[in-house]
Amino acid sequence: MLRERLTALRGSRLLLALPLLLAACATGPRFDAAGVNRALTPKNAVAKLPAAEGTQVLWGGVILNTTNLKDSTDVEVLGYPLDTDQEPQRDQQPLGRFIFAAKGYLEPATYAKDRKVTVVGRLTRSQAGKVGESDYVYPVVTPGQLYLWPQESDYNTGGVHFGIGVGVGF
């Protein structure tokens, strides 16, 4: 009787552990994407801008440059498509540059070149700048929320790897 109960308990504990394990695998900011205009990309936003002002966007990419201003920080990002975890996919075609203007101080050594960010926020204006000698018009986002992806190490040492080997003999 007692033994049966114990095994039942053990089974339920295992069931409890499963969602915990799965939760450990899910990463990312999980920003609320409701109300986000998915058709707007950094590239096409500038052309639509005066009208599209205030539109919610969910954009992400790779940091190119961080500029600290008096009481805000401008971060220039090369946008990439986001996957289901809202993580920028840098192996895909880039979607153009954008700037997010964050309130206060962001540490430029942390918001450094090549780090990945995802922001959700309002499209506010366009800003003229230069890339080399070319004129470039950046859409500017005022971030509501901001997520800096953890640094990628050069080698993926963590996690579990499965491999399938194919051998050819002559």
Binding site: K70, D71, Y105, D154, Y155
Partner: protein, 186 residues
């Protein structure tokens, strides 16, 4: 005397040798935090309250400025582990501080995002700029410091596969699959 030495069994020496192998090069002042080690953000907001207090802080070196008889390091603080080592796998930071180290530190060595832990006394807060942002740097007059060895990031070691390296490993099927038996061989 000599005889006596010879009489010491080698097994007695072993623990001593083993312990010597563990001896850490990290100075005690670095591996052990001073009592009530002040927090960086607390000092930043009120330097006067902490003047000449002993601190132990560490982090990533951002700038190295060689002066006539000292070196000023701008450090981005990181949380320290129990042994005083800055965590390197985190973005957690209480911000920047300046460490004044007496003498010359080679910027080729004390730079390039190396991690350092310092102990010393708090001098004052200094106003500086990061871009156009007015930044307040707490300043430490350093007594002891330790530059941590570079974290080596390498490929994961291969799976343990002893036969791979064994030149004497004999595969009875090897000849069967050998080159001359290949159907593609002409």
């Amino acid at each position: 005397m000599r005889e006596r030495l010879n009489n010491i069994p080698i097994t007695w020496l072993l623990p001593a040798l083993l312990l010597a192998g563990c001896a850490s090069p990290v100075p005690r002042a670095i591996s052990e935090a001073p009592p009530d080690n002040p927090a960086l953000d607390a000092v930043r907001s009120d330097a006067a309250a902490y003047e000449s207090r002993q601190v132990r802080w560490g982090g990533e070196i951002l700038e190295t400025d060689n002066r006539e008889s000292s070196t000023r390091l701008t450090v981005l603080a990181r949380p320290l582990s129990k042994g005083g080592k800055p965590e390197y796998d985190t973005d957690d930071s209480a911000g920047r501080f300046i460490a004044i180290v007496p003498g010359f530190l080679d910027p080729q060595v004390y730079g390039d995002k190396r991690t350092i832990t310092v102990t010393g006394t708090l001098l004052r807060n200094e106003a500086g700029k990061v871009g156009e942002f007015a930044y307040t740097y707490p300043v430490v007059q350093v007594q002891d410091y330790y530059l941590w060895p570079k974290e080596v990031v390498g490929p994961p070691p291969p799976l343990w596969y002893p036969w791979y390296y064994d030149p004497w490993y004999y595969d009875p099927w090897y000849f069967d699959r050998g080159y001359y038996h290949s159907p593609y061989y002409r």
